[in-house]
């Protein structure tokens, strides 16, 4: 059938059931790995289709804007408060270490580099996989089991584009913005801790913070969180769309969204950091 996307049942996983005689430890391990790979494959196809459909009209701009508000703006308090707390803690640890070498003046720049290059992006990614991943997984899962997704289709609306693509695009846009907020909140937290222990002025702290930082530190590390956003949106939307078995299934979709998005974010981070070092050797 040309032009018609595969039904979602085509993305389903192989059965976990095996005949009794095959159930050795190795078989089970093998099956677990195969299931995981099949799942990653299915999610990848789902995500690739979303990226392709994102560039085809209608673009659902209103819905994307609404999702950016839901995902982005509503997560901002969580990200800001967490960022400040992380900054305070990082500053305390950095101070404890650097004091031994008499390099306390390096605290602001050390903290800023740590925050902008890795701590901010990864912490924001993981926090948002909880806040946003669970939300999308549960919302779409509930829509699936109450036939709202079918109702959208019956109203001649492409449910995949209207629900999944808009959320994935919103995540891709919102997560880097929230990461930037987290970076600044972290630096602010660092200042609060530093000001409390050494009375360093706001101006001096920020001057020192950005002493060793340029856009090569900020841009790649922040853009990489678009990939985190893509992972969160795709995993959660996929699990929501493939929810079965009523309310229990909705809970499962929500929990799994968080767990699997978090794992994939950490794995992707390893690869992305390696890529950044390759593309921007001065960062290594």
């Amino acid at each position: 059938m040309p032009g018609r996307p595969l039904p979602l049942s085509n993305y389903c996983l192989p059965s976990r059931r095996l005949p009794l005689h095959t159930k050795t430890v190795f078989d089970q391990l093998g099956l677990a790995v195969a299931t995981m790979l099949a799942w990653v494959g299915a999610v990848s196809v789902f995500g690739a289709r979303a990226l392709r459909d994102a560039f085809r009209p209608p673009f659902e701009i209103d819905e994307i804007a609404r999702q950016i508000y839901e995902i982005g703006w509503r997560s901002a308090p969580l990200i800001f408060v967490s960022g400040v707390a992380v900054g305070v803690v990082l500053s305390m640890h950095t101070r404890a270490s650097l004091e031994r070498f008499g390099a306390v003046s390096m605290i602001p720049s050390g903290l800023a580099i740590a925050m902008i290059r890795e701590t901010g992006p990864l912490t924001a990614g993981l926090l948002l996989s909880g806040r946003v991943g669970a939300g999308i997984g549960a919302e779409l899962g509930a829509m699936k089991v109450t036939e709202q997704i079918d109702a959208l289709e019956a109203t001649a609306v492409d449910s995949f584009k209207y629900l999944a693509v808009t959320r994935i695009v919103a995540c891709i846009i919102a997560v880097p913005l929230l990461t930037t907020l987290m970076d600044f909140a972290g630096i602010l937290g660092g200042f609060i801790a530093e000001n409390a222990s050494s009375g360093m002025s706001f101006r001096l702290y920020f001057q020192r913070s950005f002493l060793f930082i340029d856009f090569n530190d900020f841009i790649p590390a922040t853009i990489k969180t678009s990939v985190f956003g893509f992972i969160i949106g795709t995993v959660a939307s996929y699990l929501g769309f493939t929810t079965t078995q009523g309310t229990e299934g909705v809970g499962r979709a929500s929990t799994r969204s968080v767990v699997l998005a978090s794992i994939l974010i950490i794995l992707a981070d390893v690869i992305l950091v390696r890529m950044i070092f390759f593309l921007f050797p001065q960062n290594a």
């Binding site: 032009g3 109450t146 109702a151 959208l152 019956a154 109203t155 001649a156």
Partner: protein, 252 residues
Amino acid sequence: MNDEDRDGVAIRLERVTKSFGGRKVLDDVSFGVKRGTAFCLLGRSGTGKSVTLKHIIGLITPDSGHVFVEGRDVPALNRRELAQLRKRMGFLFQEGALFDSITVGENVAFPLRRHTDLPNDEIVRRARARLEQVGLGGDYDRMPAQLSGGMRKRAGLARALALDPVILLVDEPSAGLDPITSDEIDQLLVRAKVEQGKTLVVVTHNIPSARTVADEMALLDRGRLVARGTSADLDRSDHPLVREFMQSQGGG
């Protein structure tokens, strides 16, 4: 004009078979529905009635067989063609399936906002009129979660009627409703057929309601069509299940 149009057949299923996870849900089901008539699918729960209905609007594709709506083979349509066809159809889901993030009124307005260029005032006016039609005139600004099951179903019907479809597919209109509301919905369906010439396919296990609405009915049993005809035909049937069904008075 193709053959379907000449015969006045709006919907035709030809030898439709469908299985889910190895279990056959529909087995060689064939029937046709003439334009401007109402067809009732009867049967016990879990015999494939809703699945049949979802085949007609292309939410489910058959494993084998054909589904023709207005002469077009639904499973063979591409997305754009399917969307065009769906705009001419309305679907009432079993539990109403209202979008729970927007108000009841916006639910009814949703198809109009998506598929027409009408100004906002006109969309709101039409959505209100639809809600009044189903007795929910004062509930435009309420959220779906604040409505009872029956009200949600009526709002679902208002949404299904929003684009003034030529074909209306209705899944269990009276299940879980009190007899008075159920009668009102039946009357609404009859008016849609008689006054507006809509083609109706109604899934139900409420025989009195089917007698009021249907020109023709069929009984599904474990995925197979066991009887078909007018209510008088079915009354005369000597098939044990058909007799049992036709003699029942029960609703919901």
